[in-house]
């Protein structure tokens, strides 16, 4: 006779089958919890199928011999035990507690499962748990209770694991999981304990599976539909787990750099088609679980060791298409690669993601088509240096202060030191970071305005505190980058601080470093604005970097500072080059300052060259801010200028 329970078991089988199919079809993130869930699905699919076959056999709809029924029953029991153990392991994985398995005590946890398993298979011979007679399966009630105890033991272990780490899960997740655990226990009890059993345990499990799949394991949230690869969120999850369990791994990134510009000449659908092609190809070489589409044009393949990552690079280098044809359009593809390893998880998730971002920047900006950048040697040093610089800038901004040092400037006509170039000292360990580097970095991270204002405030504060202008100093020189002052608002802010600290604008010289090309009309306006209020503005580092002579020579600068590179090169009695340059500026009526004068002889030579100011680290050293008082008092007494 057909039992009504079949309806529920058939539905359960159908749904578990459906979930298993879609779970694999849609792919799943290579996380332990997903692996255990997948195994659980397979085991349950097997168990429910066996149960259904057994029932059909019992009802006479199909004919099963006694021995087949016995084997099916044994496998069904064994399957349930394995599922229980997986259920516990699944909870350990959910709570990132799998390290527990490394302890010796864990052996105890497996003993009940092993004993029950042995008992189940032994029951084929000794009939202690079940036996079959005339196609009907009979169970020993007491043994069956013991069996249910073992299952509940693992469910309770899972509950304990969840409770222990409930804070990691969040209260909603915790309550959700625990509720379903209780439901499962209730159905288990109703299945194994009463004489009139409620046979809906598999139906209940299917319901739990559906809910877990819909809420916890639905992979859609980690999939980028265009490429079919996992998203950045999935990548972070996987990396987080690997780092948690101290696993070594390597990432090879493929930046399809040409895709950055694709959105104008390709429709969204066409771009998606390109992604689909790329995604498929990358999964072919990297494995379907290992490819992540982490940015609009960047893919990452995560593998276990260096050998694999190199093999993948060698393959991809030749296999990735140079042209993709879509809707009668030839789309050129350029690829940049980089490889980053995290051996024994030496980097935390945040650090690793920072490295990834830095590597991407280097690969896309500095490498060529199909070249690979390795996180090693110079690149590693560069990134570490950059990250260190960023941290330093951030900490300076947070504290709103920086150390300063002063470079005395020698006035050739008055034959005295009466100016100070005041610079922030930016140091990390023994390494000193140049101000240009700080500007560039702060610009990149979007705080160049804040950094520069902070420098200016500190310099003005220092000037006021040390009463520089009352101690023989006629002017101070403050460095700024051109891009700092190409905004009226910033110029106004500069002036407001100069007023706030009560410094006479005429005593300030802004040295403008033009490292990049700038909108010249705006720059000219800004220079004119400062000059209107009495602040002198000079062109710093003449001769290097951006040097649009025609336009910059027409700027309303008050003067120029010739770069130390030119001075060092041209400073000799035989060379006329420096004289030509000085003459060029003097004709414009500009004040000329020479930077980087290296020795006494050179100093004597340049003072004869019709320059206004001279400075050089080697002849007059930088003075730390805490020594300025001493320097000024020595200066007043006519000393401290070495042999000049």
């Amino acid at each position: 006779m057909i039992n009504y329970i079949y309806a529920y078991e058939i539905v359960a089988l159908f749904l578990i089958g459906l979930v298993t199919f879609f779970y694999h079809y849609k792919n799943w993130l290579p996380l332990y919890r997903n692996r255990f869930f997948s195994d659980l699905l397979h085991i349950l699919l097997g168990v429910v199928t066996i149960e259904l076959v057994k029932r059909l056999g019992e009802s006479g709809l199909i004919r099963l011999s006694n021995s087949v029924s016995v084997i099916l029953t044994a496998f069904s029991f064994a399957g349930v035990i394995v599922a229980s153990v997986l259920f516990w392991l699944y909870y350990l994985a959910q709570t990132l507690s799998l390290t527990f398995l490394k302890r010796k005590v864990v052996v105890i946890m497996f003993i009940p499962a092993v004993i029950t398993m042995v008992a189940v298979f032994a029951s084929i011979y000794n009939k202690k748990i079940f036996y079959v007679r005339n196609g009907i399966i009979y169970y020993k009630e007491n043994s069956l209770r013991l069996f249910s105890v073992v299952i509940i033991f693992y469910v309770l272990s899972g509950i304990y694991a969840l409770t222990k780490t409930r804070k990691k899960l969040g209260i909603k997740q915790y309550i959700f999981m625990q509720t379903w655990n209780i439901v499962i226990i209730c159905f288990l009890e109703l299945y194994y304990l009463p004489k009139k059993k409620l046979m809906l345990i598999y139906y209940c499990v299917a319901a739990v599976i559906i809910i877990y799949y819909l809420i916890r394991h639905n992979v859609d949230m980690y999939i980028v539909s265009a490429s079919g690869c996992f998203s950045m969120a999935g990548f972070k999850k996987v990396i987080e787990e690997k780092i948690k369990y101290n696993k070594s791994f390597y990432c090879i990134s493929v930046c399809a750099s040409s895709m950055q510009n694709m959105s104008n000449y390709c429709l969204e659908d066409e771009i998606n088609q390109v992604h689909a092609i790329l995604g498929e190809l990358l999964r072919k070489f990297g494995g379907r679980h290992n490819v992540y589409h982490i940015h609009s044009y960047e893919y990452v393949i995560v593998v276990k060791n260096k050998k694999d990552v190199k093999r993948i690079y060698d393959e991809l280098k030749y296999e990735l298409p140079g042209t993709i044809r879509i809707n009668d359009k030839n789309i050129s593809m350029y690829y940049k690669f980089y490889i980053v390893g995290n051996v024994d998880s030496q980097y935390s998730l945040s650090d690793f993601l920072r490295i990834i971002l830095s590597m991407k920047k280097i690969a896309t900006e500095d490498s060529l088509d199909r070249e690979v950048v390795l996180y090693d040697g110079e690149v590693k040093e560069r990134i570490e240096r950059e990250l260190e610089n960023i941290r330093l800038i951030r900490s300076m901004l947070e504290n709103d202060e920086c150390k300063l040092e002063c470079m005395p400037v020698y006035d050739v006509s008055k034959k005295e030191v009466n100016g100070l170039e005041i610079n922030p000292v930016i140091k990390t360990g023994d390494r000193r970071i140049s101000i240009e580097e700080v500007w560039e970095m702060s610009r990149e991270i979007g705080c160049s305005r804040d950094v520069n204002i902070m420098f200016l405030k500190n310099i003005l504060k220092f000037t006021k505190r040390e009463k520089l202008f009352e101690k023989g100093i006629s002017h101070i020189r403050v460095n700024v980058a051109g891009f700092h002052i190409v905004s009226e608002a910033i110029c106004e802010e500069f002036m407001s601080y100069i007023r706030e600290y009560d410094v006479n604008p005429e005593n300030i010289i802004l040295e403008v470093y033009i490292g990049v090309e700038l909108p010249e009309d705006v720059l000219a306006k800004s220079i004119a604005y400062f000059r209107k209020y009495g602040v002198s503005v000079i062109w710093d580092h003449f001769g290097i970097k951006a040097c649009n002579l025609k336009n910059l020579m027409d700027m309303p600068f008050s003067g120029v500072k010739i770069s130390h590179q030119l001075v060092a090169r041209f400073c000799s009695e035989k060379s006329m080059q420096l004289i030509y340059l000085i003459r060029m500026f003097k004709k414009k009526g500009w004040i000329v300052c020479l930077d980087g004068v290296g020795c006494q002889e050179d100093f004597k030579l340049v003072t004869k060259m019709n320059v206004d100011y001279v400075q050089g680290e080697k002849i007059i050293e930088f003075i730390p801010e805490d020594s300025i008082e001493k320097f000024l008092s020595e200066l007043a007494e006519g000393g401290s200028l070495n042999d000049i």
Partner: protein
């Protein structure tokens, strides 16, 4: 029949779970989701009623006929409401805008007729009737209507796919499969009337199949902030545009986000993102917030005015410093808006503008300013991308054009060199400014392929025209600092030159420094080129990044003075050439002057000690044929 009840209850409970999960998960506010929920609801009700119907079948004679009739009317009516909902759902996922047409008349006509038949059935017995045995039997009309129901399902999917605005072949196939399965189940039921009714159970299971094969609500959720993501945003936007609903999209973007990511802790960034979304949600008066990029959030409002109002509200409260986990995170924001259909009635255009706002573009936007994403705002980016595309096409089609400009030697008093110049046309067949496309090619690194093509074409030109027998000693060809990063460059160029049998000494490479210059790589490559016999010229001296330090530090033989310096000198705007020229000569470099257009220019260079002259005075850049003609005429004339 008892098994039917259990099957139906088993699937109904599971469907109920699906509905509950659907309620718990936040669903995208689109028509198809609303329709799906309605369809699910009626399916469950119908399933339960169907189970009741079966159950009642077991109590023949014990329940009054009137109750049986009412129950059946409800079962059948719910059934047709379910099919109507299902059809509407199919139409909505393909963004089909309902209009009164042949399809709708037929479709709704059938259901209206069915409803009338069902309600009047206790009187007419056409749809169902209670037999003398007390059992419900199907009337003739029911069988006919069943066929018509199936027909409407297939007709709906055909109409939705052909006339709907959204195209999705995968989904179309899936719905088609589902419809076929349900139809087959219905046919099976009709053929075998006494067995267990399976249509309802199959429909329920197909619902699961359909649900699992579709994108789940999670696909549209951003797990970092719990808001909808870009997929959701696009889905809503496309639906609004497809249904011609006026909508304004307001966007807020954290500037320099990728750089910021290198500084701060992952959790802190996540927390900040959550808080930005929270503020926006609060200020947008509980409208849905979309997190459409790592640093970009969007809200749909009804009009441009509302977008502006929202900006006013948000800009006042958006903090520039976040204090999270003892870290102070500094942020600047950009605000954008674009309105459909006021700004554009093309969905792709609107989407492109939104992508522009999301991307790391180099706009000169002031922080905290509201930027209207007009067409002009994107013009620069559009131009850049178009040129990038043209370059890629030229690389693929080998369609880069070359022009040649003669270079005159003071010493030899004739044309001794030529400069190879590349030319590229845009979509309207106008020439693109070479400086601009070279700049684009440098940024995209396509300059490497472009230059290789140029070099090979130059060699072919030289060989085809026996250029060195016509008085040309060497050819000046441009090289980009980006190319210098290519370790194989020198070998590749030598190979190409050897292929055409041209000595490498015949080539003068002109380098223009730029911001992208990797000084070390440039120096190494130039040194290698020199070691192999080529000569190097520093191009465009006095502009951009070609500076005095380059003359000293790079292994160059020639300095090419930019024309702007010569012209301004000639017009009396500057005098510094008087000092620069002797300075360069003092460094032992030969001088090439560009932009020679008058005799006065030649005189200036003669006086100052220039070595080579190039400019329109001699000739503008010419194509291959004209250049050869010019060269023959000029050099033969000079010799004569």
């Amino acid at each position: 029949m008892i098994y039917n009840i259990h099957f139906e209850l088993a699937t109904a409970v599971m469907l109920l779970i699906l509905v509950l999960v659907y309620f718990i998960r936040e669903s995208l506010p689109i028509r198809s989701n609303r329709q799906f929920l309605k369809t699910l609801f009626f399916l469950i009700v119908d399933t339960i009623l169907s189970a009741l119907q079966c159950y009642a079948g077991g109590f023949v004679g014990k329940i009054p006929d009137i109750y049986i009739c009412v129950l059946n009317i409800f079962v059948y009516l719910t059934g047709i409401i379910f099919i109507v909902c299902y059809n509407s759902y199919v139409l909505s996922i393909f963004h089909y805008k309902k209009v009164i047409n042949f399809y709708s008349v037929i479709n709704y006509g059938i259901f209206l007729a069915a409803a009338i038949l069902i309600v009047t059935s206790p009187l007419t017995g056409w749809y169902f009737y209670i037999g003398s045995d007390g059992i419900i039997h199907s009337g003739m009309a029911r069988n006919i209507m069943n066929v018509l129901y199936m027909m409407t399902m297939f007709m709906t999917i055909a109409v939705a796919e052909t006339s709907g605005k959204k195209k999705n072949k995968k989904l179309y196939r899936m719905i088609l499969v589902t419809d076929i399965i349900i139809t087959m189940a219905a046919i099976a039921d009709n053929i075998n009337k006494n067995s267990v009714g399976i249509t309802m159970i199959v429909a329920n299971m197909c619902t699961f199949l359909l649900y699992f094969s579709m994108k789940s609500p999670d696909y549209y959720l951003d797990i970092r902030t719990g808001r909808f993501n870009l997929n959701g945003f696009m889905e809503v936007l496309r639906e609004k545009i497809d249904y011609n609903e006026s909508v304004s999209c307001f966007l807020i973007r954290v500037q320099n986000y990728h750089a910021i990511c290198r500084i701060y802790d992952e959790e802190s960034l996540q927390e900040v993102q959550r808080q930005i979304a929270e503020i926006l949600y609060y200020k947008a008066e509980d409208k849905n917030i979309y997190h459409i990029g790592a640093a970009t959030f969007a809200v749909f409002v009804d009009s441009t005015e509302m977008a502006k109002k929202l900006y006013e509200k948000v800009v006042k409260v958006m903090p520039h410093q976040w204090n999270v986990k003892r870290e102070a995170l500094s942020h600047e924001y950009s605000y954008y808006y674009v309105t459909y259909p006021d700004d554009s009635d093309d969905a792709e255009d609107i989407i492109q503008r939104i992508h522009y706002a999301r991307s790391d573009h180099k706009g000169h936007h002031k922080p905290n300013e509201l930027i209207h994403l007009r067409k002009e705002a994107l013009e620069e980016a559009r131009r850049f991308k178009e040129v990038a595309h043209r370059i890629e096409e030229a690389i693929l089609d080998n369609s880069l054009e070359l022009n040649f400009q003669p270079i005159y030697s003071f010493e030899k008093n004739r044309i001794t060199s030529l400069e190879v110049l590349s030319r590229l046309k845009d979509g309207k067949h106008n020439y693109i400014n070479p400086e601009y496309f070279i700049h684009v090619a440098e940024i995209n690194h396509t300059i490497i392929q472009l230059s290789r093509q140029m070099f090979e074409k130059t060699c072919r030109f030289a060989v085809d025209n026996n250029i060195f027998d016509r008085g040309i000693n060497d050819m000046n060809i441009n090289i980009s600092p980006i190319q210098c990063q290519d370790k194989h460059l020198v070998q590749d160029l030598k190979k190409i030159a050897a292929k055409y049998g041209i000595p490498f000494e015949r080539f003068h490479f002109e380098i223009t420094e730029s911001r992208l210059t990797d000084e070390k790589a440039v120096r190494e490559t130039l040194t290698k080129l020199k070691e192999n016999g080529a000569k190097i010229a520093l191009d465009d001296f006095g502009t951009g990044y070609s500076n005095i330090a380059s003359i000293m530090l790079m292994p160059i033989d020639f300095v090419k003075i930019d024309k702007s310096l010569l012209w301004s000198y000639a017009s009396g705007d500057n005098e510094f050439l008087n000092e620069l020229m002797p300075m360069i000569r003092g460094e032992g470099k030969k001088i090439i002057a560009e932009g020679i257009e008058t005799e006065e220019h030649i005189e200036i260079l003669r006086r100052m000690g220039g070595d080579f002259l190039q400019g329109y005075y001699y000739s503008k850049p010419l194509n291959e044929e004209n250049f050869i003609r010019f060269l023959d005429a000029r050099n033969n004339g000079a010799e004569a």
